[in-house]
């Protein structure tokens, strides 16, 4: 009897360990739904918080731009209404701080690479776009263990869940994976990313940036601000769109009302 019991326990232990070892091979799980966050730009009367846009721009510039391009955003949009609200002089200064690959012209006489093989550059002007951190895709992949950091210009429109999804990713690092889940080499656990193995290392830490307006730079704050900035980067016309929409719908309501009254009057004796 005891032998049987001992053998059963031994068998159970053996099977349990075997199955545990087999279970250790889960490398992909469905993502959690994005965190439920409300944004200042949500809803029919949404708007961008100017201070948040400027702080978010700082986070992008100092943290994200090391790997992620922002190809579609031109420097001249930085001082346009509905945006971060920089002055024209500030926007020009920001542009001038970037090195843009130069075009062939009389000054460089068509020599686009210097003697060390580096691309000849010029200071950015307000008409230029944010230059990418890598000259091409293979270079980007080589610097990131084979992964390609996506361009962020329309990232929030390109992902289901939008701003809340990006916020969840940025603040979703540091969690312990469930038992049996394997984090693959050169990847990190993030439960909000499809498959939960994300190539991006946690980009934000407390104090990654020092905000000039004195706001405390926690991971949550940095994420919130950069998400707001990226929302504007993807939809610079959002405020104008909602403003115009209010006028159009108000107009159509009045016009419908007048047409309805006309309809009733015309049909008065026909019903």
């Amino acid at each position: 009897m005891r032998i049987a019991l001992g053998a059963s326990l031994g068998l159970a232990a053996f099977l349990g360990l075997t199955f545990a070892a087999l279970a250790d091979t889960v490398t992909t799980l469905p993502a959690l739904p994005p965190k439920d966050v409300s944004w200042s730009f949500d809803g029919p009367f949404g708007h961008y918080d100017r201070a948040a846009l400027q702080r978010g721009f700082q986070v992008y510039k100092e943290v994200c731009s090391a790997c992620h391009s922002l190809n579609r955003v031109a420097f001249h949009t930085l001082d346009e209404p509905g945006g971060p609200g920089f002055t024209e002089a500030q926007a020009k200064a920001i542009a001038a701080g970037y090195k843009i690959p130069d075009e062939p012209n009389d000054q460089n006489k068509g020599q686009l690479y210097d003697s060390s093989g580096n691309r000849v550059t010029r200071a950015g002007t307000i008409a230029d776009y944010f230059p990418p951190p890598f000259p091409n895709e293979p270079a980007a992949r080589a610097a990131n263990n084979g992964a390609l950091p996506p361009d962020l210009s329309i990232i929030e429109k390109a992902r289901a869940g939008g701003a809340s999804y990006v916020f969840s990713i940025l603040t979703g690092f540091g969690q312990t994976p469930p038992a049996g889940f394997t984090v693959l080499a050169n990847k990190y656990y993030n439960p909000y990313f499809d498959g939960r193995n994300i190539s991006m290392p946690p980009p934000l830490t407390d104090g990654s940036v020092t905000f000039s307006d004195g706001t405390k730079a926690t991971v949550e704050q940095e994420a919130q601000d950069v998400v707001t900035f990226l929302a504007w980067a993807g939809e610079p016309k959002m405020e104008e769109r909602k403003r115009l929409g209010f006028g159009v719908i108000a107009f159509l309501l009045v016009f419908s009302g007048l047409l309805y009254l006309s309809y009733r009057k015309i049909w008065h004796d026909k019903h």
Binding site: A74, H76, F255, L259
Partner: protein
């Protein structure tokens, strides 16, 4: 339909007139974006002004930049060229108006009215006859010769022999520093 037609619009017709008027306004407001979309885009407008670095231009040399899809001549004049331009009375010119966007429309075409700094001539490189690009340092007046139909300009870019009717246009520009000009 019950006919109540009267000579002048009465209260019953007011509704239809109001509805029609609101509708017409709506049509006009709706048409505006379709018209406006053909205007230059924000990126084109951002390129509407350029900054030119003039450090490397020697006296007697010209560099061509592109401004608003046109060639822009930035020419560093020698003292001889400046003196030549100043020796011409305005009455001897085909076009007595300065055509300088930085000045009044009626300013006379004295050499002083054609430049901000006498050494630097900044003009749009488009012949005022039919739009060809004149060649620098050619022609009898030391300024420009347009090969298309033979117009000649002097060292201040003023037309001296036709068929061009006007002096080369001077665009709006300012010296940001001694070595940098902002045009437009």
């Amino acid at each position: 339909m019950a006919n109540v037609t009267s000579a002048e619009p009465n209260r019953r017709d007011f509704l239809y007139i109001a509805t029609g008027a609101v509708g017409a306004v709506g049509v006009a407001l709706t048409a505006w974006p379709f018209v406006a979309q053909m205007n230059p885009t924000a990126s084109a407008l951002a390129l509407g002004s350029i900054e030119a670095d003039i450090t490397t231009i020697q006296p007697g040399q010209q560099v061509i930049f592109t401004w608003r899809s046109h060639p822009l001549f930035v020419r560093r004049r020698t003292p001889k060229e400046i003196a030549e331009a100043r020796s011409v009375p305005v009455s001897a010119l085909i076009d007595p108006i300065a055509r300088n966007a930085n000045l009044d429309d009626n300013a006379p075409a004295t050499d002083q009215n054609r430049e901000t700094k006498p050494e630097w001539l900044v003009v749009v490189g488009v012949c005022t006859h039919l739009g060809c690009i004149p060649t620098a340092f050619e022609g009898n007046y030391g300024g420009y010769l347009c090969h298309c139909h033979g117009s000649q300009y002097d060292t201040a870019g003023r037309v001296r022999r036709g068929p061009a009717p006007q002096n080369l246009a001077v665009p709006p520009y300012t010296f940001l520093t001694n070595t940098r000009i902002k045009i437009g």
